[in-house]
């Protein structure tokens, strides 16, 4: 799509009976513009936007929606530069692996993760809108016989100096004869203060449907003749069914088929209830030879701890400045500590579900699924059906939560639906029960982090070494990607770079340990645990230096005025300087280029070991904020997720089997565990950098630091469950 910026359109492009304008804008720029006709030619790219003769503007939504509201915010970016009236905009979900719309933050893959939507699409979608606006101005200039420079736009209209108004719909009808498509890079974009949509609180498009039960998720899709499948999956990774006695299941009225899958057995039935009941009657003999049967999470953590201490091979350097080990050994005072964290599960409230309708020849399918990537869902269908991309028809459904759960290169729930549909020749809906989802979860990895720091005699930090012993996550969930990026695993290591601080000698390195569970990206990715270690340890250093945790950190942000502002702001919001003996903890962490300084106040029940939060203050900077109210909701949601991670969330594995099974033994933060949360968002004139994960990383260390304020003891193993808290109190 690039390199085609200047192009004059000929009359040939405009068929009779034209009904609107289609702008073909790749992320590289505008490639063509044509009038749509009933007989519109088939094009080799999909358009970013269409303006209909009636004024309706449809804008492509290239990501997928899981609660983060990109469905509203990304089209708003384009609408802003187009100067569209937001009420004229309809949003079109992109339902194909069309790399024209690829996420620039993921090398053009259609992938919705890592808070990259707004960051990655901000420039291309602004340019796309600006180009279309320029074309509309040219049409108006031609029609009115005036110079383009004399025209201005108002929402969905071009206005001339004499007050003549031409709506975008009217202009779309007028055809594009003689119009020159401008090079996107030559256009002047709006300055931030002229924004009418970005930075204003435009209500989300999906809130009404989500408040009336009308939003349709994959689990809700219903097709004529559809049947339901329930899968008994192998109890341990790597095992498969060696014998299946399904006589009882098949005898139940309504059971359509029993389908053996690579790692499970599916019962397909006319109703989900029947499938569920029949699954309970299966007698399956599983293979017994998976190496995963040897894995116990307690041993896994012990292994990682010993390897953090004595790496079996040279750790992979993640971030480095100067010579941290030397600075630490030369320091007047040095401190070191280890921090531990367990496996964690996504707990999105919509369990895995997908509907597939495989074509009669078994070589194509229509699929309804909620996933974080059109590209890899397409890939999944291609691999499972051994087919080509053109035979894959996707319907990307809004998701009942993602948090990384739906990012895998091969999506097993989609695969299940495909294999079952292929076997029975009917559309099949697969629903994993909550227990299936927990037992077959893909987890945030366990980690042991070995921290060391050096202090000068005047209490300044001179060297900092952050070592993370954890497996590669990318190496499991996307092996081909790992082969490109190894040994740098951003999913495992994010946050360990402590990039918001200026530390004279710094090292973060990765001891890549053996994977002993299924792994996946998780909200905050590495920062969910590296933030804990880095910022809890920062408090230990401040303490060793005899300094206030705030002052100690302020010294490290001399060159980061935006970060400094956040620390000062959160101190003011929480009245940090006058905290007296209130149990308050501070942390400063972030995600990628977004930063958050937070303070929590806790209450501790010394008999039960239960920690509860009584207050939370957050000062955040994520660059320009496209939708402030939504950003607020996301940051607060991230912080609530952080409370959950810090206090309760823990998966244990014994002999390769996940011990937990549902929300009674995998506890997620409830309404009565959430404190009042005050969020401040800095107003800055900078590229947007994302808010989806930002609220999370500071929370666990802030709680650990508040616990220290209350007790003089340190929590170094996340989650801080009551039994661990009691051990620390009594230890």
């Amino acid at each position: 799509m690039t390199g085609q910026a200047e192009k004059t359109l000929s009359r040939r492009g405009f068929l009779k009976g034209a009904t609107g304008l289609t702008f073909l804008l790749g992320t590289g720029g505008l490639a063509a513009v044509r009038a749509d006709a009933d007989t519109a030619a088939v094009l080799d790219v999909n358009p970013w936007l269409k303006i209909q003769a009636d004024g309706q503007i449809s804008i492509v939504f290239p990501s997928t929606e899981m609660g983060q509201s990109s469905y509203s915010t990304l089209p708003q970016i384009l609408a802003e530069e187009l100067d569209a009236d937001w009420d004229d905009v309809v949003i079109e979900q992109l339902n194909a692996d069309d790399r024209t719309f690829g996420n620039p933050s993921f090398g053009g893959i259609l992938y919705t993760a890592g808070s990259t939507g707004v960051e990655g699409y901000f420039d291309p979608m602004r340019k796309a809108g600006a180009q279309a606006r320029d074309v509309l101005l040219q049409i108006a200039a031609r029609e009115l016989g005036v110079d383009k420079g004399t025209l201005v736009t108002e929402p969905s209209a071009v206005v001339a100096q004499d007050g003549t108004r031409l709506s975008y719909g009217e202009l779309a009808r007028m055809g594009t004869e003689g119009i020159v498509i401008p090079d996107a890079d030559t256009l002047t974009l709006k300055s931030f203060e002229d924004f009418r949509i970005i930075g204003h609180d435009i209500p989300r498009r999906d809130v009404f449907d989500k408040s009336t039960g009308r939003a349709v998720y994959a689990i809700d899709v219903t097709l004529t003749d559809m049947v339901f499948a329930c899968v008994q999956r192998a109890p341990v990774e790597g095992e498969s069914a060696v014998a299946v006695d399904d006589a009882d299941a098949r005898a139940i009225p309504g059971v359509v088929d029993v389908v053996v899958l690579p790692d499970g057995v599916a019962v397909v039935a006319e109703t989900y209830w029947t499938a569920l009941m029949a699954r309970g009657t299966l007698d399956i003999t599983w293979s017994q030879n998976s190496p995963h049967r040897a894995y116990h999470s307690q041993h896994t953590l012990a292994l990682y701890a010993s390897q953090a201490e004595t790496p079996p091979e040279a750790p992979a350097v993640w971030a480095e400045k100067g010579d941290a080990p030397r600075a630490i050994s030369d320091a007047d005072q040095s401190v070191s500590q280890s921090y531990l964290s367990d496996y964690a599960y996504h707990a999105q409230i919509e369990p895995m579900a997908a509907v597939a309708h495989v074509d009669a020849d078994g070589k194509g399918a229509q699929v309804w699924a909620g996933t974080q990537t059109q590209s890899w869902t397409t890939q999944t269908v291609m691999e499972v059906l051994e087919t080509t991309k053109d035979r894959v028809r996707l319907n990307m459904m809004t998701m009942g939560g993602g948090f990384g759960r739906r990012t895998a290169f091969v999506q097993d729930y989609v695969r299940d639906a495909l294999l079952c549909s292929k076997a029975v020749g009917r559309p099949v809906k697969v629903i994993w029960t909550r227990e299936d989802d927990v037992k077959n979860g893909v987890f945030r990895p366990m980690a042991v982090q070995r921290m060391a720091g050096g202090l000068s005699s005047d209490g300044k930090l001179t060297g900092f070494h952050h070592r993370v012993a954890t497996p590669t996550v990318i190496g499991f969930f996307n092996l081909s990607r790992w082969n490109t990026v190894r040994p740098n695993d951003v999913i495992s290591m994010r946050g360990a770079e402590s990039k918001f601080y200026d530390i004279p000698d710094f090292l973060a390195d990765h001891v890549i340990t053996e994977r002993q569970a299924r792994l996946s990206p998780y909200r905050g990715i590495g920062a969910a645990y590296t933030g804990f270690a880095a910022e809890a340890f920062m408090d230990e250093l401040a303490d060793a230096a005899g300094r206030d945790p705030l002052d100690f950190r302020l010294d490290l942000v001399q060159d980061n005025p935006r970060g400094r502002h956040l620390l000062e702001k959160v101190a003011e919001m929480s009245d940090w300087r006058n905290r007296g003996d209130r149990a308050m903890g501070l942390a400063f962490a972030g995600y990628h280029s977004s930063m958050a300084a937070g303070v929590v106040e806790i209450a501790l029940d010394r008999d039960s070991g239960e920690i509860s939060l009584t207050n939370m203050w957050i000062a955040a900077d994520a660059g320009l904020i496209v939708s402030p109210d939504n950003a607020h909701n996301q940051i607060e949601g991230g912080a609530v997720f952080g409370i959950s991670c810090a206090l309760t969330e823990r998966i244990d594995i014994e002999a390769g089997e996940v011990l937990q099974s549902n929300f009674w033994d995998y506890e997620v933060t409830r309404a009565n565990q959430v404190p009042p949360i005050e969020v401040y968002m800095a107003k800055v004139d900078a590229h947007p950098t994302g808010v989806g994960e930002l609220g999370l990383p500071f929370v666990p260390p802030a709680i650990a630091n508040a616990f220290y304020a209350a007790t003089g003891r340190r929590l170094r193993h996340m989650p801080f469950t009551p039994d661990r808290v009691l051990d620390v109190l009594n230890g």
Partner: protein, 150 residues
């Protein structure tokens, strides 16, 4: 055959009496606003009203509700104008939205019993339902807003 009232209309279903009310509502009757989240009385995504009381529809067998009056999110209002729904929009509560039908049904039962609950009563009552996206503080505000408006 089980006969009950659903959103004001009388219905007869011939599902097995032990089948979950949740599945009957969703798959037999076709009202998809009520969600499955855990099947274990732990998340509240499946919350409906049974004779005016908020209950987990994943914990009821259809045979148990013979003669009962069931209300789902679809029956709360025809057009999204129940004060709680308006408050949900005004406060922009939902993120992924998956839990929200259940949250609204849970809150509606509270308000019909206690039209002006304190914050503490709201928090307590709403703790039966999970929101993984963490919209709790907005839920509290929306319930308070709706309480002011009824």
């Amino acid at each position: 055959m089980t006969k009950f009232t659903l959103n004001g209309k009388s219905v007869d279903v011939d599902n097995p009496p032990d089948e979950l009310l949740l599945l009957v509502i969703r798959d037999q009757i076709g009202l998809k606003g009520t969600k499955y989240g855990c099947g274990a009385a732990m998340c509240g995504a499946c919350t409906v009203h049974v004779d005016g009381e908020a209950m987990f529809s994943c914990q009821l067998s259809v045979g148990d509700i013979e003669g009962a009056e069931i209300t789902t999110i679809e029956g709360l209002s025809d057009d999204g104008t129940h004060p709680l729904q308006k408050a949900w929009v005004a406060e922009q509560v939902p993120q992924c939205g998956y839990c929200q039908s259940g949250q609204i049904m849970r809150a509606a039962a509270l308000l019909s019993e206690n039209p002006s609950p304190s914050r503490e009563e709201i928090v307590d009552h709403m703790s039966a339902n999970l929101c993984r996206c963490g919209t709790y503080n907005r839920i509290f505000k929306a319930v308070e807003r709706a309480a002011r408006e009824v």
